[in-house]
Structure formats: structure tokens, C-alpha cells
């Protein structure tokens, strides 16, 4: 398996009234093609910041990001935009990630149109296919985000992410707000999409039992740094760092 994404010495500093706060502090890792890589760690440890750096929502203060060998941080706006479509993200707060005044279908259409012009009929058809693909009925296109439940909205968010045929899907606490059954089914959907479309996935969560069954490899973060990484099964069975041990003990 080759690496689809390589991250070298990535750092992110936030300045706050004179103080510098290092949210991500010299992180190195790679995402292999077709794998599910889990990132786990306490809140504020920099997991979401890493996701935002990879998707270009934030600009790294230091480090390099290679997507299929191309250095993302050096790319100019237009080129970066094109590659950004290859890397899509789903968030925990799916409802908040949609424009509340726009119907679900319209939100997805806007993303499809990024790929180029498309007739109205073709748009409708694509939106319906995407919704059905994530287990929603086509009629959900006509609903507003607040009219559907959390689990349904997360499916819609995944449909929207899939609209641009991404190579990498980053799930930032994507199942955390869901009930266990919906979570199990979203995970099942993600595994299915991964296999169907050959996706590589970065799965960020605080749910250890879940990552233990879903991911191939695991990265454990604390205070902006990676404290342990490796094969998921090995880490769960034989954690090396004190921090990982503490995490495992806190599982309810």
C-alpha cells in the first residue's frame, strides 16, 4: 500500500493576546491508500486542527503536507482548490455544517456544481443517487437541515462529501453525536463507501471501542503531539505510553 498522504513536521500556532498557543506541535504521519487510520486523543489535543490543516481550512505555521507526492502547502489558490476536492471532511455537528436556510438538496447541488456545469435534471438525478447511496430517500432533498434527525443529517453530510468523488474522507467525530445503532450503521456505510470507491479514511474520534473495531492503524495524540502510533490491535492489547493506558482505563 502506497501513501496517499504524508505529513511532515506539521505545526499550528494560534496567537492570543500576546501568548502563543501551539495546537499542533511537529506532527509526522502518513495515510496509506485504502486504509482507515484512527486519530484519538483528549479534547483540545489538536485532532480537529490537523483535519482542518489537511483540508486547507487552516494554514499551517510550519511543516509539509504531501498529497500523492505533491506538496499541498506550496500550491497556489486554484490548484489547491482542485486538490481540496479530493479531500473531503464530515464533522460531528452535521446540522451546523449545512446552511440552515437552504434545503439539503440545494446544499449538495452547490458542491456538485464545483465539478462543472450540469443540467437541472442531471443535478436532481445526482442528488437523488447520492442520497440513496447513503441510505436516505430522494425526497430528503426537499428538507431543511432542522427538519431531519441527527443521524439523517450526518448521512446527508456524507452524501455531500461524496458528491465530488473524494479520494480521502476525513471524519471528525462524525459518529459521536449519533445513537449507537445509527453509529453502527454509519460506520457500516463508511466501510461500504471505502470499499466501493477505494477511499482512504482518517477517522477522528474519542470513542476507543469504536476505533478499535474500525481502524487498521491508530495515532494517539496529547497536547498537540503524537504520543503513540501503530497497528490498532497491538496498541489496544499492549499500550506503550502512560497516556494510552489512561485512555483505555477511562472506557466506561
Amino acid at each position: 500500500m502506497g501513501n496517499i498522504l504524508e505529513i511532515k513536521n506539521l505545526s499550528m500556532e494560534f496567537k492570543k493576546t500576546g501568548n502563543i498557543f501551539k495546537a499542533v506541535d511537529g506532527v509526522d504521519f502518513e495515510l496509506r491508500k485504502g486504509e482507515v487510520l484512527g486519530i484519538i486523543g483528549e479534547s483540545g489535543s489538536g485532532k480537529s486542527t490537523i483535519a482542518k490543516l489537511i483540508t486547507g481550512l487552516l494554514k499551517a505555521t510550519e511543516g509539509q503536507l504531501f498529497y500523492r507526492g505533491q506538496e499541498l502547502l506550496k500550491l497556489k489558490g486554484g490548484e489547491r482548490k482542485v486538490l481540496n476536492q479530493h479531500i473531503q471532511m464530515v464533522f460531528q455537528n452535521a446540522v451546523g455544517s449545512f446552511n440552515p436556510r437552504m434545503k439539503i438538496g440545494k446544499s449538495i447541488e452547490e458542491i456538485i456544481q464545483l465539478l462543472g456545469e450540469c443540467s437541472k435534471d442531471c443535478l436532481n438525478k445526482k442528488v437523488e443517487d447520492l442520497l440513496v447511496d447513503v441510505g436516505l430517500k430522494g425526497e430528503y432533498a426537499d428538507k431543511y437541515p432542522h427538519e431531519i434527525s441527527g443521524g439523517e443529517c450526518q448521512r446527508a453530510a456524507i452524501a455531500r462529501a461524496m458528491a465530488v468523488n473524494p479520494q480521502i474522507l476525513i471524519c471528525d467525530e462524525a459518529t459521536s453525536a449519533l445513537d449507537v445503532s445509527a453509529q453502527a450503521r454509519i460506520v457500516d456505510l463508511l466501510v461500504h463507501l471505502k470499499e466501493e470507491h477505494g477511499l482512504s479514511m482518517l477517522f477522528i474520534t474519542h470513542d476507543l471501542p469504536l476505533v478499535s473495531s474500525l481502524t487498521d492503524r491508530l495515532i494517539i495524540m496529547s497536547k498537540g503531539k503524537i504520543v503513540e502510533s501503530g497497528n490498532t490491535k497491538e496498541i489496544i492489547e499492549n499500550p506503550k505510553s502512560e497516556y494510552t493506558k489512561k485512555l483505555l482505563e477511562a472506557v466506561l
Binding site: K16, E42, G96, G150, A177, V180, P209, I236
Partner: protein, 318 residues
């Protein structure tokens, strides 16, 4: 005779929804001071709607279509706007699924705390700062000054959620209604927040209704567990009983979807909860239930008392 003196919240046959569409159907329970009720169920079973209905005071958009809700003997379904304002934040406070819903995104955290406290209590700047410091520390928020000086979007999701929880606890309310309070938190912090909620109960006898999909949270936190399906409380009882000896087929299936450390991928229930506008008479679970019989389709959803404090709505037990 039952002793009602310690009773703080009494929900009687509540029916609530949006417009004329009932979501929550005929739900009853009562809680004494210091008791914690956990409510579980899939997305779209009406859990949030139930909590919105109980928190009438918040001006949230649910309509009560029937039943009564008593908070310390006062019927919340008939309460005046003035009383709502007095109760909210002071006696009853809410914690939502997302911190965005509890915090004002365009105001600094510190100001939000000061305003909340000042609108109900006469406290000096120093006292306020001290109270905030105490609460922050107890739920693992160390950087007090940086946080107070931040806007919500400058905090990580987990931090923002803990801030929202602190804001709900700062006035030491009698009743906390929480909708997925720990979903945004990692396991260690989640444990800390749960310990703090338990400590709050210990110290101030706070009563809580907590909605969560995390069975671990329920087992650690709640005295009673209610399982919701199709807007009804299909199983209700002591947490220990409901989780260890579930009776309702839905409860059993739900528990099977819980991921286990080092285990296989969990199995979700096939199908989905019924849409409320499609809901017909009979058991709402019958399309997904392994034990469904023809009679289930016209089951009258009668509550069966299995033991003194354990009840279910299922034809098999009726």
C-alpha cells in the same frame, strides 16, 4: 402511600410535538430530588422533543398537545412568561448536544458567564471569578483566563462543550436537562464531566434528565433508564435492571449495537425508526422486531408493569 415530598419533576401522560403532529406520546415519569434519569433510543425517536417539551421555559419550539409537567408542584404547561424567565437558568438549566446551541458565538465566554450570573444573583466580580474558577477546575478546564477571554469558536469542540456545561451548572440549578452532554468529549474528559455531574448531585441534590446514546454514560450516571421508540417510553426501570435484564425487544437490539473494546464492528438495527407522520396504530417497532406477530400491528400500546419500578410497552408482556 407514596411520599411526594421529595418529588421535584412529575411528567404525566405528556403528548408533545410540532404543530398538530404528536412526536412524544403518552410519556410519564417522576423524579425525586437527586435522581438521575437517562434516556436512550435511536435518532429520531423523539428524545430531544421530550426534553424540549419538559423545558417549556426555554421557549423552544415544541407544542404540548396533552398531559402535564409539574416542577416543584407548578404546572410548566401553564406557566407565565415571567415565571419562565425566573426558572430558566436559575432553577432549571439546559445542556445541549452542541455547544453552539448553549453559547452565544459572538460574545466572549467571560461576558456570558457574568450576564447569566448577574441576571439571577447579586455577586461581586471577585465572587463570580472565584465561582467560575471552581467549576472550571472541577471539569478539567485549566486555562481559565484564556478561556474567559475567548470567543466560543476559538475553543476546541470538547472545551466549548465543557464551558457550556459549566455555564449550566454555575447557578447550581435544581434540575438539569441535558441533551447528549458528553458526545463531543473524549473518554477521559467524559469521565471527568460525569464525575462532576455526580458530585453536583451529591453536593446539591441536583436532579437530572440526561439524553445520551452512550450506554456507558447511562450505566455510570443514571438511577433510572428510559428507552424511547416511536415517541413512547417502551421500557423504563432501574438502570441496572434495564441494561442487565432488558425485556423489550428494542432494548435488546439497541444494546447489541454498542461497540466493545477490541470487539468486532457493532451491528446496527436494520431499517430505521418510523417517521412520525407514517406512524399507524399498533407497535411502532413491529417492522423491525424479531418477535413481531400479526397482533402487534393493532396492539394498543398498553403499559405493562413488570415489577414495581420496571415497565414495558410490548404485546409479549401484556
Amino acid at each position: 402511600m407514596e411520599n411526594y415530598r421529595d418529588e421535584i419533576l412529575r411528567v404525566e401522560n405528556i403528548v408533545a410535538g410540532y404543530g398538530n403532529m404528536p412526536i412524544v406520546r403518552d410519556i410519564s415519569f417522576n423524579l425525586k430530588k437527586g435522581e438521575i434519569l437517562g434516556i436512550v433510543g435511536e435518532s429520531g425517536c423523539g428524545k430531544s422533543t421530550l426534553i424540549k417539551a419538559v423545558s417549556r421555559i426555554n421557549g423552544l419550539n415544541t407544542d404540548i398537545l396533552g398531559g402535564k409537567i409539574f416542577f416543584e408542584g407548578q404546572d410548566l404547561t401553564k406557566i407565565s412568561n415571567e415565571d419562565k424567565r425566573r426558572l430558566l437558568g436559575n432553577d432549571i438549566s439546559m445542556i445541549f448536544q452542541n455547544p453552539e446551541a448553549s453559547l452565544n458565538h459572538s460574545r466572549k465566554i467571560g461576558i456570558q458567564f457574568t450576564e447569566t450570573i448577574r441576571s439571577h444573583r447579586d455577586m461581586s466580580k471577585e465572587e463570580i471569578r472565584c465561582r467560575i474558577g471552581e467549576i472550571f477546575e472541577s471539569i478539567g478546564l485549566t486555562d481559565v483566563d484564556r478561556i474567559l477571554n475567548s470567543y466560543p469558536f476559538e475553543l476546541s469542540g470538547g472545551m466549548a462543550q465543557r464551558v457550556a456545561i459549566a455555564l449550566a451548572m454555575v447557578l447550581k440549578p435544581k434540575l438539569i436537562l441535558a441533551d447528549e452532554p458528553t458526545s463531543a468529549l473524549d473518554t477521559t474528559i467524559q469521565k471527568q464531566v460525569i464525575d462532576e455531574l455526580l458530585a453536583l448531585r451529591e453536593k446539591f441534590n441536583t436532579t437530572m434528565v440526561v439524553i445520551t446514546h452512550n450506554i456507558g454514560v447511562v450505566s455510570k450516571l443514571a438511577n433510572y433508564t428510559g428507552v424511547m421508540y416511536g415517541g413512547r417510553l417502551v421500557e423504563y426501570g432501574e438502570t441496572e435492571k434495564v441494561l442487565k435484564e432488558p425485556i423489550h425487544p428494542y432494548t435488546k437490539a439497541l444494546l447489541g449495537a454498542v461497540p466493545k473494546l477490541g470487539g468486532e464492528l457493532p451491528v446496527g438495527l436494520a431499517g430505521r425508526p418510523p417517521k412520525f407522520h407514517e406512524l399507524k396504530d399498533g407497535c411502532a417497532f413491529c417492522k423491525r422486531c424479531a418477535y413481531a406477530k400479526e397482533e402487534c400491528e393493532c396492539f394498543d400500546n398498553k403499559v405493562t408493569q413488570v415489577e414495581s419500578n420496571h415497565r414495558v410497552i410490548c404485546l409479549r408482556e401484556a
